[in-house]
Symmetry: C2
Subunit: 344 residues, 2 copies
């Protein structure tokens, strides 16, 4: 028999442990554990003794230890490109709502639209034993792709339906949405259509929207001019600037489709400031259906996307996958809605 624990606890937090509770309640540690996690398996009387012991010593469970022992962390990770664009934070809010109801926590990463940073975050979250992860889009580094492919780890991609992540994709067709908008503009009689995109590099949503615009222009026999296809950062100011740049380069332009409401709203505000009439002189369309689209004058034609639901559905799929396994990879097309208002 080895001689041990001669001098009590050598390391540790100093916070009370399960054993402390067990000792003051006069039961074993496992009983306390059960009283907390599966109370129906503990006699009412014992439960009460344990409860008062917990209160007495001020016990707070150590989930890190519990996670290690049970190989479950009840943690889901999410990586978004930025926290400064409300479409992503609203999606996160949807996720958090569902996760919290189901007793899961969110660990959050923001990649800054950089897939290498995304890869690094993925590795961190793997190391932290997140039980699943929500990614934005389906463009990732090769290494990340390979890692995810060989790992049997629940992954959901959002905002896009192009990838084949282990659990599924939750999104809508960015291509179709952009196509529909151009079709709408054409039906309204606009022929000289410009498109202002987000940066498309490593961003499949933006790339798909651009593809949709191009295809629609071609199908409808409308002219596509390079000077009218621009990329821009996301800000109100940049929206106004893009409008001016396009009008300077191609004065005959009669409609501009922006890949984000923020840009489109900036353009409408700037147009009004400069006495340019919307939609008579120039039509403006956006993408997202943020609140500003409804209160701006004229109200903005845009594409409504179910950002809250994107988060909710992604979270549910992932929880389902952690609890009942997964395979194949479902595709949840949550659709979009063309909302026609006064700006076109």
């Amino acid at each position: 028999m080895t001689q041990r624990s001669q001098r009590g606890r050598r390391r540790g937090h100093g916070r009370p442990t399960l054993d402390d509770v067990a000792r003051t309640a006069g039961v074993s540690a496992i009983t306390v554990s059960r009283a907390l996690r599966t109370p129906e398996k503990v006699a009412r009387e014992t439960r009460e003794v344990v409860a008062s012991a917990i209160a007495k010593v001020g016990y707070i469970p150590n989930l890190v230890a519990g996670n290690l022992a049970s190989i479950k962390t009840r943690t889901i990770a999410a990586i978004v490109p930025t926290l400064e664009h409300s479409i992503f934070t609203e999606m996160l809010q949807g996720m958090v709502d569902v996760l919290r109801d189901e007793g899961f926590e969110l660990i959050l990463g923001s990649s800054g639209f950089d897939i290498r940073e995304e890869e690094s975050l993925i590795k961190t979250f793997l190391a932290r034993q997140a039980e699943g992860i929500v990614l934005t889009g389906s463009f990732h580094t090769d290494e990340a792709q390979q890692l995810l492919a060989r790992l049997d780890w629940p992954v959901v991609e959002t905002w896009s339906l192009l990838g084949t992540p282990s659990v599924g994709s939750v999104g809508f067709s960015n291509y179709d949405a952009a196509y529909e908008m151009v079709k709408h503009l054409a039906e309204r009689g606009y022929r000289e259509i410009a498109f202002v995109s987000a940066v498309t590099e490593a961003n499949d949503r933006a790339a798909e929207r651009l593809r949709g615009v191009r295809r629609a222009l071609a199908d409808l026999g409308l002219p596509e001019r390079a000077e009218r296809i621009r990329t821009s950062e996301f800000s109100l100011r940049a929206g106004g600037e893009s409008m001016h740049a396009i009008r300077a380069a191609c004065p005959e332009t009669d409609a501009i489709f922006f890949a984000a409401d923020t840009l489109a709203a900036g353009a409408i505000l700037e147009a009004k400031k400069c006495g340019i009439s919307v939609p008579d002189e120039i039509a403006i369309a956006g993408f997202d259906d943020l609140e500003i689209a409804t209160v701006i004058d004229p109200p903005m034609t845009t594409v409504r996307v179910p950002r809250r639901d994107l988060g909710r559905v992604a979270a549910r799929l992932l929880i389902e996958a952690t609890e009942h396994g997964f395979g194949g990879g479902v595709q949840r097309d949550l659709g979009f809605e063309l909302v026609v208002r006064g700006s076109t």
Copy 2:
């Protein structure tokens, strides 16, 4: 001698462990651990052998186990009222920037402006062994206060300087900011001033702003009328509605100070839509200095708050506290700036 491990691993992930790496590298587990965490203590040659073994077996560290063994999680928690208001997400972005540089991760909670939910989140984050927490404001439930008081756990409060959290407060004086804005309006000659606040219940920022407005009105000898002190939810639409409601109740009102730019912007947009001239018929002031304040017409007078820095400083304080201890509780007044533009 006890007979054990007759049939190998009984539970576990199936992912390779430190031991697997150690075995293929022909060294002990602790050497692999050191090669990863303190490479300078391992001979170059060994380091290389270990590195290739890691690559060979595809090892990903299990931080949950590491955290338990080292009693360190390198995790910081943050609780914000909502993710749907960019001032908070920008603060979080500031936090994430600093945390990631220092090798910390963020666990995020959103309380929905409900301090009971906040309390529940605090307990969860304690249980998850977060090394510190960033809270919004200094209103918490009694139980949360007591828990935090007796726990010797690093806590930083943001957006307010009123509390005495264990590590410190990072914010500015909401009272002074509101006071200054009213003073500015008075100097501009406005005398019939209205104030639209966020809900003040359990929200010390809103309560302080209201107090500042009241005090300023009193000090400056301006009339305070109950019909002109309103609370409102946060939205563009609600801003416009508040403006109408105030003008209906008190037609002589010549200036409205909104506790958020979103509200003020909604009011300006609505005013333009209705042909109400800003600032001639009614002056509008906001709070936050969001981008829209600069591009709207007229540009908006508002209070600039250092939201990104709030997050950065809070994160740094907390990291410092986890590494070198803490005591007392510092107060970092990051200040605010009255930005006067055309709307007043």
